[in-house]
Symmetry: C7
Subunit: 89 residues, 7 copies
């Protein structure tokens, strides 16, 4: 899944949030990439892969950490991590 | 196959729709990528691969979920996932 | 081979055309990518690979389906799928 | 080798020319890519690989087919297909 | 992790800083890339990978060396080095 | 090595020059890519790889063929063909 | 390591300098890429990889050859050649 998540600058800090989200059932790896830093908030994308991720639990964990889930931008379900085919027109 | 699919914001939500479409006979993996978010609707591309996918059933499942199939943009049939050769002129 | 093929919107639909062309003798896989959609017609590129494809039969099958072969843009013959070397000047 | 070759629209057609050139001694595979289509002529690049290709015979076969060899744009000789290193200044 | 780190020109020099950071517990490899050179300061990105890196110790080592940690730009936690999925909208 | 070499149009022709240079002691493969064609001269880049190439002999062979070595643009020495790291600032 | 090194046109010539630097203890391979050629000087980037390179000896060898080390632009220390993660904001 690719998620758009905002959080306050260091509450939680990015390392702690990544470790926290990586411990959700079914998660194999999490990537948190900072896309924007304003005075108060940090904009990030959260990429997560795993086997049978508990999506609801993952979203709840984001909320519990104090961060805010803006949108779910990409979801892959199946036996492989399928890249989206780019539109050619 | 690469499909252009619109849906209402969270009816269904992207995770549920991906899980639903992944359960159609012959489907190995589905990728739903959000390409546009307006007030009411979400534009997506749906990429699906599998062995002997029941295309009609796949399209019916999209419709049943409340989403709308706009167009079929790319189809591959055969013994491998064949990338289109880009036109050079 | 890479072909430039036009067809009427859904006569035939892209899935049916791809399945039909994939059944021509010697064809291993077919990719039909929609490049343009006008009111009446759909512009596509058709990429096809195989062992000893019967090119004449392939072109005839396109015509028989109601689609129109505009041009043959790329042909590879030999023991591998050889990418064209880009011109450097 | 990468060659710049022009031919009249369908004399010979691209499939026939590719099959013809692929039969020259030492040739393993040929790629003919159409780069330009004017009213009378078709501009192409011809990429050819093989073991100990008879270059003179290959050029003669192009001429015999009615096509015209404009220039030899790239030649590789040796134990591998060596990509040119791009100039960095 | 990807970090944004500034340091004074040669205190410490880049080689010494890289060797120092590579010796922090859990670190497998460190890449220090200079992104900007002003009269006094050098702007760098520090990329670090490892198994169970002691992040706090790593940040402390940066500070101890005299360099300054500006921001943590990317964190990956899990069983693989997960690339962030680029946003498509 | 990557060399910048000019030659008169067909004296020698590109195929002959490539075969000639490929026979220099230590050379495994040569790529001659035409970068410019003027009325009299042809600008090329010559990429050569091998084990323990006799560089002096290679330059002498270029001269003997009637071509002109303008510059040596890239040299790799060691146990692998090392790509240059691009500068990031 | 990625170094920014200037040298006088042919003192030393690029091949000799590369061979000389490749003989420094711990060096596996060296790439010297010419980035600029002025009347007197040649600007280059020097990329070097190895096991336990003696950095001080490497810098001294550059100086001894008559070339000038301008800056150390990238350093990797550890069990693999780690590419820098590009900044996404």
């Amino acid at each position: 899944m690719l998620l758009d998540v905002d959080k306050v600058l260091d509450r939680p800090d990015t390392v702690t949030l990544a470790q926290d989200l990586a411990s959700v059932p079914g998660v194999s790896a999490v990537n948190i990439t900072v896309t924007e830093i304003d005075i108060q908030t940090v904009g990030t994308t959260v990429t997560v892969v795993g086997d049978d991720i508990d999506a609801a639990a993952f979203f709840a964990r984001i909320q519990k950490s104090g961060a805010v889930l803006h949108s779910v931008d990409e979801v892959v379900v199946g036996d492989r991590i399928l890249e989206p085919v780019p539109r050619r027109r």
